[in-house]
Subunit: 286 residues, 2 copies
Amino acid sequence: MQILIKDKKILIIGLGMMGGSFAQGLSRIGFEVGALARRQESIDYALSHGFIAHGEAQVREEYVRQFDLVISGLYPGAFVEWIEKYQGFLKEGAVISDMTGVKRAIVGKIQGMLREDLEFIPAHPMAGREVSGVENSDCGVFRGANFIITPTERNTPEAIDLMHDIAVLLGFGHIATLTPEAHDEMIGFLSQLTHCIAVALMTCKESSHLAEYTGDSFRDLTRIARINENMWTELFLDNKDELLSQMDLFLGKFTQLRDALAREDTGTMKEMMKLSTHRRSYFDKK
Amino acid sequence: MQILIKDKKILIIGLGMMGGSFAQGLSRIGFEVGALARRQESIDYALSHGFIAHGEAQVREEYVRQFDLVISGLYPGAFVEWIEKYQGFLKEGAVISDMTGVKRAIVGKIQGMLREDLEFIPAHPMAGREVSGVENSDCGVFRGANFIITPTERNTPEAIDLMHDIAVLLGFGHIATLTPEAHDEMIGFLSQLTHCIAVALMTCKESSHLAEYTGDSFRDLTRIARINENMWTELFLDNKDELLSQMDLFLGKFTQLRDALAREDTGTMKEMMKLSTHRRSYFDKK
């Protein structure tokens, strides 16, 4: 299997931190990897670091047509636009995948307009860094991380297997399959809500002096408060209904704990802490 | 300095994870360390692992009277009771310190009843683990951590220096001095509020299946959701007014972000994210 899929030529669209990390990892495995990026400097960086074999800053049909697998590292809206504009350039039968953190907002749109011979198999690697740009690429972040594929009835078993195999080769530890709807609910809770909490907490106080007094808990809780405002605002809006309902769920529980403290209801406080301790044990790394 | 203070005999009261870690670290430095613990097994464990030179499960005057420095590893309420009951046993001129996470609730009480010749110098090591018991002791957690001393007008420069030097010897990276009031406000925000957030988040959903899909953000945010419900309920109640006001501050910011999303006010969302990113940079480990 590995020998067969390594014959495929892979195009990465967009050389940010995630696109760069994919390119780096796929080149290391032995794929021929090309890239499209808006900035020539990103291509130069990726070339000089061996992330890609070649790359271009303009979208040319002759260049794009050589690739069997195209993986988008663009923001959701830019990815939809790219397909709209350039899908005519793609090789017959090419497979397209992505790494965006929302699925309902893009999967239907893309599958609704895609050429009959092309196949879009959506994916979401649950790994990343709080820094952006190709120079922060690090395919080591994939090691042991979760990888989610969100196929629909338009997908073939072959394409699902292909993305599964690529995730395994990149070092992901657990590959799951979800519907786009289940994915967005899950991610609304596990990822988007946590980023909202971190941002809200970090904006509470002017805090330049607080670092001197903190333990690790505040530092851990706010690691993700360093956030790319353009990307995350787009992701939040693309998943608005789910994220709002997850935020309201959290608000309810937080308020329950607050009110229990206010009336010194130690029974409720301890019950919540016991439940929390029990549930957290599922997340201990194996 | 180091040679002089190492002549002091130190008593640790209570051999939990924190008391045990202090005993371990102080013994390694070269102090003669004794301990009082309710359970003989805790003493046996600490003896067999070289954390202490000797220890007792009963509070005997002849044993207690030999120590120059007494450090409590008890919960706040139990510590106040211990002083009430046993301060008569302490050596003339002995210095007492502690490691409890609240200060206003105990400092006034203890200094109000303390024998004239004794001195209580309150301290809060900002380090710990999510597991309890002497067998989980690890003085390595002190390395580079913050240590807060909360003296009042009853304290002498000598006692403040003593705790400062002990913190340095134990490997703490930054030693700060705060009033008990400023400490409780700070800790209400940095530590107690973060634990409330983690508990509330962890109680939102039955989550045994969620670990398969999560990235590191949820895992980091909920590390402290594994929580000792008896200790933390006591700490929260002892700092109730401060913690409630910190919780309300966070609720306000979180609701502001929620409402901005609901009305698709991307300007407010991005402003909050930019502020959050800026403020988080203060917490990057140097």
